[in-house]
Every structure is written in structure tokens, then in C-alpha cells.
Amino acid sequence: MGKKMTSFRGLCLIMLALVLVLSACSGQKNGGSSNTPNDGAAAGTDGKEQNSELKPYELNVAYLNIGTATDMPEVQAAVNAITKEKINATVKFMPIDLGAWQQQINLMLAGNEKLDLLVTGSGLNFGTQAAKGQLVPLEDLLEKYGQDIKKIVEPDVLKAASSSGSIFGVPSVRDWAADYGVLMRKDLVDKYNIDLSTVKTFDDLDAVFEIIKKNEPEMAAIIPEAASVAVVTSLVPGLIDPLNDDNGVLPGLDNDLKVVNWFETEQYASLLTMVRRWYDAGFIPKDISTNQTASEQLVKAGKAFAFMAHMKPGYENKTSLLTGTEMVAVRILPPVATTSSISNIMFSIAKNSSDPERAMMFLNLLYSDAELVNLIDYGIEGKHYEVKGEVIGFPSGVDANTATYNPNFGWMWGNQFLSHVWEGDDPKVWELQDAFNKAATKSKAMGFSFTVDPVKTEAAAIQNVKDQFKIGLENGTLDPVKYLPEFIEKLKAAGMDKVIAEKQKQLDEWAAANK
């Protein structure tokens, strides 16, 4: 029985890890005292001089193990040839499985195991790690050894990786913003002559769904973005800055930095009314709250016509592959970027590192050395991939099932825009993405991260209240007329006002310091 208990604890943790990786919200916590990096090598020395002074060092790098990487030893050797020459260091890659990530990283950071660099993120407990003193503050290191990073990652963006005023991570260069809307089956849109240009707001969708409901009674007109997410949930980040955990938010990503209770706003109430209307009209399946199947699969099986989505350029093409039918995107909310969307995936230096300077030098290479980035992202040219004009692809005779190095984790490693483009994507995808990032509305509180520590008792209770009501309300299965007031009342009882006051206090301090 003792054993059983342990496994269920374990199960919680695996679930936790999964949820955290797939979602992107987390509490930020107070940064304690820090590990000051050694003020070793003098600033301003160029690469070569550094190299002659540097002793050999092995960097242990922990990252999320995704996809196939059977040939990692070979790739590692090739990477080491580069790093040996440039920073006299070798790199030991430590892949950690998605399901084991949270556990193993926490345990490694709690002890003194060898670990120099690790992937962190707002959904991977970055806030807690920074607050508990497990990460090294990076300002000085960035100044001395991270100039290439600073060139690419603007100060605004870099600030998103801060906690209590210090920077603890470097975001990878990828999609920093998202726009919000609906993906629909193109064949049906064409078949029923639906004019999508008339759809400007979410409320305009009723007419579209009505047509589908009438003609395809077996099909749900609209479903959420993913299983265990609600219909409304995935469009909310386009309307507000959740300030890490949506207990106290900035509507319109501005609101003059006045934190309000999102669930009490008119806007939230009207969203709930809308989704309830959809539910009552039969656009949303009755048993949506217990759905366990990915939305793309439901579309593929002919059970659904459209689903909510947060998107980036070219998103519909990739999704079409999963749904097996062409999808058309209706983009309703323009792209926005917040602290959370940027600090999603970063690299941080662990307090375990005995040479944080070298770790930063390697990190700097990930933002400047295209050869290194391509090597890590795609493997060895000629063996794992072939250049095919502007893009790259598998060498002949290799496919996704037989590939020996095909990890798909470019979004993790430094500057993804330095890497090749895989065939099937727009050859200009990085430029498009860059432009998209730059065009995004930035939250006025960009760079602020909430430290939940002073109100963690309340935050714990609030989470239970949210679990009880949020999905039901945001899927329309609960009537907002009856349950929204109850939800608000229980949130208050759990201490929502205290959390908001604390958040406002921290935000004011942050604003004063960042004038």
C-alpha cells in the first residue's frame, strides 16, 4: 500500500510535468540571495585570447528530450569540435524526458549534481527555481560574455526572464507572440459558401456555426483548442496580460497598470454569455468537459468543424497535416506578447555550475554560431539532412520513421532564426516570424513577473476554486447567470483580493524602478 501511494504521488508529478509543459502559466517567486558569479576573466577580451587562458571544461546541459536522437553521441562529438575550438569546452548533452523533467530537474537542482545549463520556462517552474536560489543571475555574465545574445534579444524581451529584478534566463528566439482566432475546415467553408471576411469579432461566428449546425448535424461547430482546455480559455491571452497566473490581470494589456480581477470584468462576463449561447445552440458538444481527444483528431474523425487556436504564421498549414483536411484560419485578435509568452522557453545557468562564465560563453554561441545551431537542431549535414535549395530535408531513403537524428527541438536552442528551414515550411518563415514578433502589441507590463510567495496560501486555495468553475463556465456547460456570481464569491473567500493587492504593490514597485 505504501508503494501504491508512491506511484500515485509519482503519477501526480508526471501529470504535473505534462500540464506545465503544455500550458504556460506559473507563479513567480521571490528571488532570494544569489550566487554571485566569479569576477574572473577581464571584460573586453576577444574570443581567441580567452581561449588561450581557458582551462578545459565539460558543460553539462539538460534539455527536454523530444523526438528521435539516436545519433546524439555523434552530434555531440561534432558539437564538441566546435566548442573545443571556440571556448575550450566540451558539452555533455543530458536529455531528460518530458514526463520526468520536473522531478529530475528539481532533484538535480536541490543537490550538487553536475549541471551547468538547463532549459527553464514560465511553465517549467522557472519562478520557483529563481526564487529558491537555484539559478544564477545573469546580468554581469551577459555583459561580459553575452554580447551576441544582447544584440538579438532586445532588453525589453530579456526582461521577461527576470524575477525580483534580476535576469535568470535567456529566452530562445522563436515565436514570442501569438494571435488568436478559429481554425475551420476549408472544404466545408467552401461548400456552404461561408464568407469569412465578415467575421471580425467572436460574436460574428454565430452565423457561421449556425450554417454548420443546420447542414452537418452530426458535427460540433466549435470545440476548444485541446482536451482539458475550455473554449474561451485559449482566446483570453489575446485580450489581457495574465501577469503570470491570471489572479489579477491587465485588461487590454495596459489598463494603466491597474490590476483588476479578470473574472469580475464585464468583458469576462460577456465572453461567458457568448459561449453559453453557443452551448445552448448546440454548437458545442454536450460532453465537451470530459473530452480526452485532441481537437485535431476530432476534426479528422469528422466530429468537429472548427476549434479555437492561438497561432503564428503558417500555423494552419501544420495543423492541416494533423487534421488530414485543409484548415483555414480566421484570425480575430491581433498578435500580442507578454512576459509569459516570451519566458515560455529559456536557458538558465544552474547554481550547481562550477564555471558559469563558460556556460554563458556557450549560450552566446547558440545565438551567434549558425553552424552550431544547425548541428544541434538538425544533426550532421549529408547524414541527417540535406540542403535542398533554400530549405533542407531528409536525405533520400530516410523518413520520419527511420531517421536517427530528428529531434524537432530548434525552438529550445538559442536563436532558431539562424537555423535552416525544413522543407514544407515557407523558406522565409523566420523572417515572417521575426516581423510577426515585432508587430505584436507588447503588454505595458512586459518584463514584470509576479512573485507569488507572500500570498501562496491564498494562491493555493484559489487554484481549487478555479478548478471547480473555470472549465465549466468557459465551455458554456455552466450557466454564467447562476454560477459566475458563485465563482466570484468563492474566489474572494479564497483570498483573491489579497492576491490582487499584492500584485498591484509589486507592479507599482516594478513600474517605479523601470521608468
Partner: protein
């Protein structure tokens, strides 16, 4: 049979009394005499010391605001602050009530049903069938709760579920929206729990029944006792010690609950929380985004202490009635 038991108890009591009277020297020589027994326990004791007692210094984490730069020992003491979230909310009463009620029902029903099934299994004469039944009752225990959650969904799903689609129409009852009605879940969860765990308990009780000396039954049969009388007079009293120990152990974990059962099986449905939220799921939800090791050890310590107090009490009651059946 009763006389046999009485005799042994009398003998033991005499032994214990004389043991108490022994002086230190005698005690020492007693220890020396049974040195082989002491040697036997060494591997187990050493193992438990390393595996369980050494890490117990970690219990202090529950009272600390851990900062790894300082190290666990040097981190600040914060008293009971890590415990606050367990009691401060309006849900505190609900989750405690749910946890206690579910576990009490589970202990009662699982034990009764497992004993009944074990006794019946023991009566099956044909060896092949007996073994077949034994294997089958254990199957549910081998399936993970995540999968059980899916199977329950296959039964109860609103649109495609077996019960709504096949069973209720046959009985002329309208479809029920199972996942939005909290009132059904105490029954559903109890059934799932019995289904999954009775086999496990059953195997243990069966082993106890098999251990009973067949001579008792032979004698009883000669005296013309019926099956039912034999069960009541021989089987049940003789497996009572095992039942007692199993129950005591379950009482010790009465504040813990099977996370998979309460989280996976209702598919984390918010509408069902009033009857499915227990301490473990509450803590899981509370800490999902916080990831605070101080608060999670606080929850564990709270559950352990309550369980500990309850076991000490029940053990005291048991030892009043029969010293041998007590845990310690």
C-alpha cells in the same frame, strides 16, 4: 479450539510476566540466547534505517522556507506557515469530510467483500476453477488508474457511453449526464474502488484461510457443524488477526487517498468537486503551479500525524481486547 487458544495465551502471559521480572543480567542472557533471531533482523533494520529513517531529517522542510542557495538546514524557519493553506479555506472541511468518509466506507466494504470472496474461493472444490477465479479477481488490480478512467468514461460518457446508450434505454430511463451530477459519484467511486482493490485484499485473506489447519474443519464436520457454522466459528476467528492488522494499516493511511481514483477517474471534472475533492487532490491542485516543496511536505506530515494518532488509538483498543492482535 477455544481451549487451545486459551492455553497458549495463558502460557504466553506466564512467559511475559516472568520476562518482566527478569533482571538486567537475565535479560542480557536472554538476548544472547536468541542471538540468531537478532542477526536475522539486521538486514531489514539496516535497510529501513537507510531507506526510511535517514531521509526523515527532510521532515523539517515542512517548517522551512527553503532556499537552496542557503541549503535546507540553513533556510529560515517559518513555523506553521506552510500548513496554512490546508485549513484556511472553506474547502478545508469538505475535503477532510470526503477523505474520511470515503476511506471509512472503503475499509469497511473492501474488507467485508474481500473476506466473503476469499471464503467462497476456498470452498471451490475444482482446482482449475479455483485458480481461474483467483486470477480473474486480481486483474483489475493490475490495470492503471489512468486506463480505468478511460474505461469508466466508456461506460458513463454522455453520448457514446454504454450505460446511456444501451442500458438505460432498455430500462426506459432517460440518459443521465453522469459527469455533471456530483450526487452519483460517491457510489461510482466506491464501486470502482471495490472493483479494483478487492482482488488484492482477497489474495491476502485467502492465504490466511489456507494457513488454517484442516484438522479444525475435519473435527467440526464430524461434530455435524454446517458450512456457515464452520465459517463463523473457525474461519473468521482464525483470520481475525490478519484482518485486524490489515485494517490497522489502512486506518494509518485514512487521511491519504488514492490520487488516481479521485483525480483520473472523474477526469478532473470541476462540477464534481463537491464529492470528489479529497486532501490529496486538493494539495495537488493547490501546488500544481506553486511547486513548493515546503507546502507539499507540510501536507504529507499532516496526513501522517493524523493517521499516526488514529492508529495508536485503535491499536490501544485492539490490544485491550487481545494483546496478540495488536500492531505493537
Amino acid at each position: 479450539m477455544n481451549t487451545v487458544a486459551a492455553k497458549t495465551t495463558a502460557k504466553e502471559e506466564a512467559g511475559i510476566k516472568s520476562g518482566r521480572k527478569l533482571g538486567f543480567k537475565k535479560k542480557l542472557s536472554n538476548s544472547l540466547r536468541y542471538w540468531p533471531l537478532l542477526v536475522m533482523v539486521i538486514p531489514g533494520v539496516v535497510y529501513l534505517f537507510i531507506n526510511n529513517y535517514l531521509p526523515m531529517f527532510g521532515l523539517i522542510i515542512a517548517f522551512k522556507d527553503v532556499n537552496f542557495t542557503k541549503g535546507i538546514l540553513a533556510s529560515d524557519w517559518i513555523g506553521f506557515k506552510n500548513f496554512e493553506y490546508l485549513f484556511k479555506t472553506s474547502d478545508a472541511l469538505l475535503i477532510t469530510r470526503n477523505t474520511l468518509l470515503y476511506n471509512s466506507i472503503f475499509i469497511l466494504l473492501n474488507t467485508t467483500i474481500a473476506i466473503a470472496v476469499a471464503i467462497m474461493l476456498n470452498e471451490v472444490k475444482k482446482k482449475f476453477f479455483s485458480r481461474f477465479y483467483q486470477s480473474v479477481v486480481l486483474i483489475p488490480y493490475l490495470i492503471s488508474m489512468v486506463i480505468v478512467g478511460y474505461l469508466v468514461l466508456a461506460m458513463l460518457s454522455g453520448e457514446t457511453g454504454f450505460i446511456n446508450k444501451q442500458l438505460l434505454p432498455m430500462l426506459g430511463i432517460e440518459a443521465i449526464s453522469w459527469y455533471s451530477e456530483p450526487k452519483y459519484w460517491p457510489i461510482i467511486l466506491t464501486i470502482v474502488n471495490i472493483w479494483k482493490n478487492v482482488g488484492y485484499l482477497c489474495v491476502i485473506y485467502l492465504a490466511a484461510i489456507i494457513g488454517i489447519d484442516p484438522e479444525y474443519y475435519e473435527a467440526a464436520t464430524i461434530d455435524g457443524a454446517s458450512k456457515w457454522q464452520q465459517v463463523r466459528a473457525i474461519t473468521v476467528p482464525l483470520i481475525a488477526p490478519v484482518v485486524t492488522i490489515m485494517t490497522l494499516l489502512q486506518i494509518g493511511r485514512i487521511f491519504y487517498s488514492d490520487f488516481g481514483l479521485f483525480y483520473q477517474v472523474p477526469l478532473n471534472t470541476g462540477a464534481l468537486l463537491s464529492t470528489t475533492n479529497v486532501i490529496d487532490t486538493y494539495v495537488y491542485r493547490a501546488l500544481m503551479n506553486l511547486g513548493d516543496i515546503g507546502m507539499s511536505s507540510a501536507a504529507g506530515l499532516y496526513q501522517s500525524v493524523v493517521g499516526f494518532v488514529l492508529v495508536i488509538l485503535s491499536n490501544y483498543v485492539v490490544s485491550k481486547r487481545n494483546r496478540d492482535n495488536a500492531l505493537f
